[in-house]
Symmetry: C2
Subunit: 319 residues, 2 copies
């Protein structure tokens, strides 16, 4: 039986990955690790047999024991301090909880010598400041990480490659772009907008919203497409290779607000809060998913309109 | 008064740096940190007022307290687990004792906000596997680190750049090539050869030596030239810039053996031990020192012949 070890188990990506596994109608085992208890019922699945362990991945001995006793066939490493803003305030914690926890994991797999395919999840942040001429971003481009978080991710990627080339381990890498979908926490921009718009709709106003720079263009990809890519890479990705996970198209934040407002049948005025505008932010980020498409046959299946509709429905049920 | 904090204080590079400071006939203060006590007399200097603290740089609180109380104007960060071979056996320890210790240092300087220029010492290993067409290696080249040690050094470099660009800190970076000179430990190739040759000379044979691949060509630079570069960069290096420290010329290991044998007036037969040949080693590494020369006016002053002569004299007095 396939045995997945999932770190960052209680997050929204993991939750969608479990739903995807369940949809395959095949019995699999999952051992989930996270600092926090999941807020979904791990006993609700028919096909996915879940166990959960609350754990700090910096506690190497505990991690070692779990890997040794569970003997995973696949590791989906989602755990991350993924906030760029947090990394500027706490660079050490960001580095430790991205790079060092990853090194702890792969080092134990190496030392006990189990056969195990590992997905190392990275970020589009690794590209750093890019010019429009370089779009869409391709995997072979030189990386210029500009935040502590991005450096931590590039370090993780370089370590992965050394473990593949030097020790023969089976690690596949991603650079994942902005993923969106139901269950995502409102500290992120899209759920934050969705929640505010649902509140405005429910309370009949006031019809205005405070935002950052809405002209920014990002490559948004639905989390359900992302977890499908993770599954495909965990089974068919080429070891040592890095794959962009992105839609290949750009959407402005203004456009997101417009689509969600339209769907709710409201119209809102947006006011820019300069404190929410990050001067070093790239104006536009779009990736190429050609490599992922070519190597494992992945294509995004969920349109941005469908994503936003599902996100709005999710928040309508929450506010 | 200039106050230097030197990590890796008990190593041979630090010892030469202290000698260089002493030669300037100007009073300076030095606080040295190292796991091990120095095997030289720190009270022997006239101009350099030294104190030493035995310390593990992973003990962040202790490091923090020392930086806070000493308030250095300059940090020369020499501490490193610099062996590539060790890093393959202990990737976690290598990473922690290169990247994490460096992050501990710069984070404390950032947090307490002292004005302090930092030299982040890196390695030619960062370039990774290079082709002859890429020689001499220039700083702007893309890096392909191929060992855990090299990854740790590139991570350190990326962190430095983020601390310069994001926090405005004053960090200058090096990629230091193979440095040689008296006091270097015999775990390195040149002192190992020198010691063996001096023993052969003293004991009148047997006139053979076991070695690795002698055809390998490296860019050797005298440690006394290196510490001069460190001093110049600590005072005049441009922040955020990385500088090769190298001679700009290549010498084969066979040539080193020949020069030292000639100087000793002996002739030895070298036998290759396949275990000492590392298959992934680059055949030839030569760097360009044009940037260092242009920005701070550094030029290597000690010829390879003079270096080897001094090294042989050092080992003659030891065996």
């Amino acid at each position: 039986m396939t045995k997945y070890l999932i770190t960052g188990f209680s997050g929204f990506v993991s939750r969608h990955f479990l739903n995807f596994l369940e949809s395959l109608n095949e019995k699999v085992s999952v051992c989930g690790l996270d600092l926090n208890e999941p807020d979904f019922d791990i006993k609700s699945f028919k096909w996915v047999v879940c166990e959960f362990k609350a754990l700090d991945l910096l506690q190497k001995e505990e991690v070692d024991n779990i890997i040794y006793s569970y003997q995973p066939t696949h590791i989906l490493h989602l755990a991350s301090y993924s906030s760029v803003a947090f990394s500027w305030k706490n660079p050490r914690a960001s580095f430790a909880n991205n790079t060092n926890i990853f090194l702890n994991l792969i080092e134990q797999v190496r030392q006990i010598g189990i056969k195990c395919k590992i997905l190392s999840v990275g970020s589009s942040e690794e590209y750093g400041n890019v010019t429009k001429e370089n779009l869409p971003l391709k995997e072979e481009m030189q990386l210029f990480p500009v935040s502590p978080y991005a450096v931590a991710r590039v370090s993780q990627e370089m370590l992965s490659k050394v473990y593949v080339d030097g020790y023969g381990m089976d690690i596949v890498l991603t650079r994942s772009f902005n993923h969106i979908g139901p269950y995502q926490k409102e500290i992120f921009v899209v759920p934050s907008f969705a929640k505010q718009l649902c509140q405005i709709k429910k309370e009949n106003g006031p019809y205005n919203m405070v935002t950052g720079n809405l002209n920014i263009i990002r490559d948004f990809v639905d989390v359900r497409d992302v977890v499908k890519a993770y599954f495909m890479l965990l089974h068919h990705g080429k070891k040592g290779e890095v794959y962009n996970i992105c839609s290949g198209t750009g959407t402005s934040l203004q456009n997101l607000v417009d689509v969600m407002s339209d769907y709710l049948g409201i119209s809102v005025t947006c006011q820019t809060n300069p404190e929410l505008v990050r001067p070093s932010d790239n104006q536009i980020i779009i990736g190429s998913n050609a490599k992922l498409s070519q190597d494992v046959g992945w294509q995004p299946a969920i349109s941005i309109e469908q994503s936003l509709k599902d996100i709005v429905e999710y928040w309508k049920s929450k506010v």
